[in-house]
Symmetry: C2
DNA sequence: GTCTATACGTGGATAGAC
DNA sequence: GTCTATCCACGTATAGAC
């Protein structure tokens, strides 16, 4: 793509983040150079520093944006725990399937965050997990679920659902609807729902 | 540790692999330099090349050793599918909990393998997954399990079980026995066993 | 078998011209 | 806002002395 020199305010910034996202997910943060990101965008390496103070901020901003977006799309709705659990399973699988790169980075690049950044991302993740734990506790209290240790079950369910991203491909043997149905069946049984 | 110059045949080799294992798991393959591994062992970088042709081989050998050890410790035993499934769950959790570094590398560093090495590791992983799938198919055929899609259930169970490694710590709130019991309870229910 | 020294490429980040 | 040029640290890997 031929590119002309000039002003691209408001265009290059997002393209930098998108290129970083793709490359970090594909090769890993440590294996991606600023030059590689610049090449993907179609600029020279120096130009990147108009959009990020450094490489670490690029990683952190991607992870924070992903986690915050995840949290804004969920809610602490009240109501039938069984319905809420089913909605959670469906939402989690679909949301993650739609954003494989973001999910991959959020899980794989935690150790490449500087300590302060790591703490902030972990807090966001904990907030998300708490939403599922809340559903399980409510269901257990209402006698709808048989869950002896909601914390463990929360982690087990999230690990199971997130695992879909390691193998699911659009156009494969199963549609996303079928995948959601299969996992909902397993989750429902695992929590002892009728 | 003061170290003298001299011969260490049969000693330094394992220490190199152990140092690489620890550092790769902690910081990631791409972020670990040969100098860092050498420093951990207590030798100069050049000396490492007496034990490995290059950094890539170091990674591949660690992953292959882990997967092959995993496979030698499992079997295609016949018998009651419910018993075999319970044994699988217990084995998987305990084996992985005992080797957090190996497990972490085996799951996180796949993308840093050269194509040929990647293919070989993936084949080993597939062999392991097939063992669980076989148990589920046998159980479904015998009417002991209600599993509509054994492939999906296999992947879901393995993801769930392997997830234990992200949070389990010796001396924490739960013992490993308790963790195994909790997960077995979930798996048993999820496959629809009585 | 390990050391020191080094070749040579690439890394993140900055300066200053345009 | 982007480019070119550059600084300097660090990367893998090798050569040759001991």
């Amino acid at each position: 793509m031929a590119r002309t020199t000039g002003s691209h305010a408001g265009i290059t910034g997002p393209r930098v983040r998108q290129a970083a996202l793709r490359l970090f997910a594909q090769r890993g943060y440590a294996a991606v150079s600023m030059r590689a990101i610049a090449a993907e965008v179609g600029v020279q390496a120096g130009a990147l520093y108009n959009y990020t103070p450094d490489k670490q901020s690029l990683l952190f901003d991607l992870m924070r944006a992903h986690m915050e977006d995840l949290l804004t799309q969920t809610s602490d709705a009240q109501g039938d725990p069984l319905v809420r659990l089913k909605d959670f399973v469906s939402f989690h699988i679909r949301y993650h399937a739609d954003r494989p790169d973001e999910v991959f980075i959020a899980y794989m690049e935690l150790r490449n965050l500087e300590p302060e950044n790591f703490t902030r991302i972990e807090a966001l993740r904990r907030t998300y997990e708490d939403q599922l734990e809340r559903i399980l506790c409510d269901g257990a209290a209402a006698g709808v679920f048989r869950v002896s240790d909601p914390k463990i079950v929360t982690l087990a369910i999230i690990a199971m659902l997130t695992g879909v991203n390691t193998w699911f491909r659009e156009g494969g043997r199963l549609s996303l609807d079928e995948v959601v149905a299969q996992y909902w069946d397993m989750v429902r049984k695992a929590v002892g729902a009728a």
